[in-house]
Amino acid sequence: MRIALIGQPNCGKSTLFNQVAGYKAETGNFHGTTVTFTESKIRVAGEVVELVDLPGTYTLSGTNPAEAVAQEYLASRAVDIIINVMDASHLAQGLELTLELLPLNKPLILALNMMDEASRLGMKINGPALQEKLGVAVLPLIASKGRGIQNLFVTAKNAAHKGDALHPSDSLQPRDAIHRHSLADELARAIVVQGERHLTWRDRIDDLLLHPVWGYFALLAIMAVFFEIVYGLGSALERPVLTLFDQFSVYLTQHIGISTFWAELLNGLLQGISGGVAIVLPYLIPFLVGLGLMEDIGYLPRIAFLMDGLMHRLGLHGKAIVPFILGYGCNVPAVMSTRILEERQDRFIAAALAVLVPCAARLSVVFGLVAFYIGPLWALGIYLFNILIIALSGRILAYLLPEDTPGLILEMPTYRVPTLRAVVNKAWFRIREFTVEAWPLLIFGSIALSILNYFHVSGIFNMVVRPITWALDLPSEVGVPLIFGVLRKELSLVMLRQAVGVTDFSAALTQIQMVTFSVFVVFYIPCLATLSALRRELGWKTMLAIAGFTVVVALIAALLVRGFGFLV
């Protein structure tokens, strides 16, 4: 049996899915978090059923690729029952999709999610009356707190077994979209009694956070605190753990000797492990927890609202903000989220800019190198410089590929109190991705470099990229880390330690070299996983074009830093 979850963006489908299937689908309090479907087997009252979470779709006739996924899935797969999830506090909007689902003649039930939010807004919803009018089961749900889930799935399973096709009455078959809109509105009016609304901090907080003046101060303060916490926790951990590994490494060389093949290999292994524990994880964990918190609270779209005017002025596409923000976590979902844009050209520009955003992996390079050795303000400077470069690149791309952009249309979600469980699960989901997929690659890369060093062939690699390292006034040994950095961005830093042959970078690189190196790493070719996401979304040619574009941008940006270094 297969159960499909469908609903409009940000109605909590993925939250519901994760509650029953374990954390498998990314969630966040903004629109368009899910852009592809996720399937999982779950157990409902002793029976194993297939559950699928479809991307949020406003309408079945939508045109962007994420919406097409939902339509194609419903059309091509054998779905035994559809659970139409909707935000109970926005019933009129949600029912529009329901009216489109009714004529599909598949078993259907309605889950009115966020009932707590609706009652907070003073809405009394007459579920039985809606059930009567539509002829399908209507069930209340608070997915984030796990309430009503059991009942929902048991009802769904039983309804699927009965397999009754729907026979919606003619009065529920609208002539066209406008008629459907007004019909949904009438339905919602008939079943909702609007009582007194309790104003809380959630209704007041935007007076500050979206204030024309204070809003920007708040944004700066929030970012500064976030940055400070990531740096504070990260560097507090990096120092002692690194010292521990270095002592261990010294101990080993004393007992095994340095120049044997096995000692080199062991050293590479150790570098790979310590790079993960000491340099990457200390920054990654607080960053991902913090990002998850901001996502679930619903602050990110507010940043888009505040920044849209400025970004427009700098040539950045207004709607590219979602991929842009997601990019700070990881470029892969950022590239995938360009699916919420309708035009291919918009997707191209958004993807090309999103891969320039320093992801969590590059964050570890910036923090582990620049913030740690030079100071946190320099790291902040790199982030601001990055935004400037992205804005300029956006301006150039927009000039080369002129288009008439309709501009920003973005739904502002209600603030929500994040649940500890969701934030922890989400951070764990992303950290697990690092430990399972990236870390082995880091260790493998370090060992590979040891072997290259032992046989004295790393010089060949260094020669290949010497034109770049020469132009940037970097030692030729950083060539190998730069090449391997394409596999995973953290590798650049982990391998750099080995390549320059010291554990303390300040002994091998000048401060300006550290900044130049970091800036180049931040911009040049995105990692392998991102490249493959680009290929999937936009094709081989575009992937190569974007990769080439990033190298040019990286060179220019790093040269600017080098030039600046000459001046001071």
Partner: protein, 74 residues
């Protein structure tokens, strides 16, 4: 009169969308139709977007979009 011509806090009725079929399709995709009542909540500085409320939902519209949303007083 467009959404840019009204004062913050004022409610108006959306009467149509200018600027070709593209915008109309996009707006209806987001569930905004002629006949809907919109209230202007905020305007972002630096020539930024406007924030409107339509039947309980808050939606931000960029300047270019808002200028093409035709409204009338109610």
């Amino acid at each position: 009169m467009s959404l840019l011509d009204i004062k913050i806090g004022k409610s108006v009725k959306i009467v149509g969308f200018e600027g070709g079929k593209g915008l109309k399709t996009k707006m209806t995709r987001y569930g905004l139709y002629p006949g809907d009542i919109a209230r202007l909540l905020r305007v972002a500085p630096f020539h930024g977007p406007v924030l409107i409320e339509v039947s309980g939902r808050e939606i931000a519209l960029g300047r270019g979009v808002a200028a093409n949303v035709q409204v009338e007083s109610i």
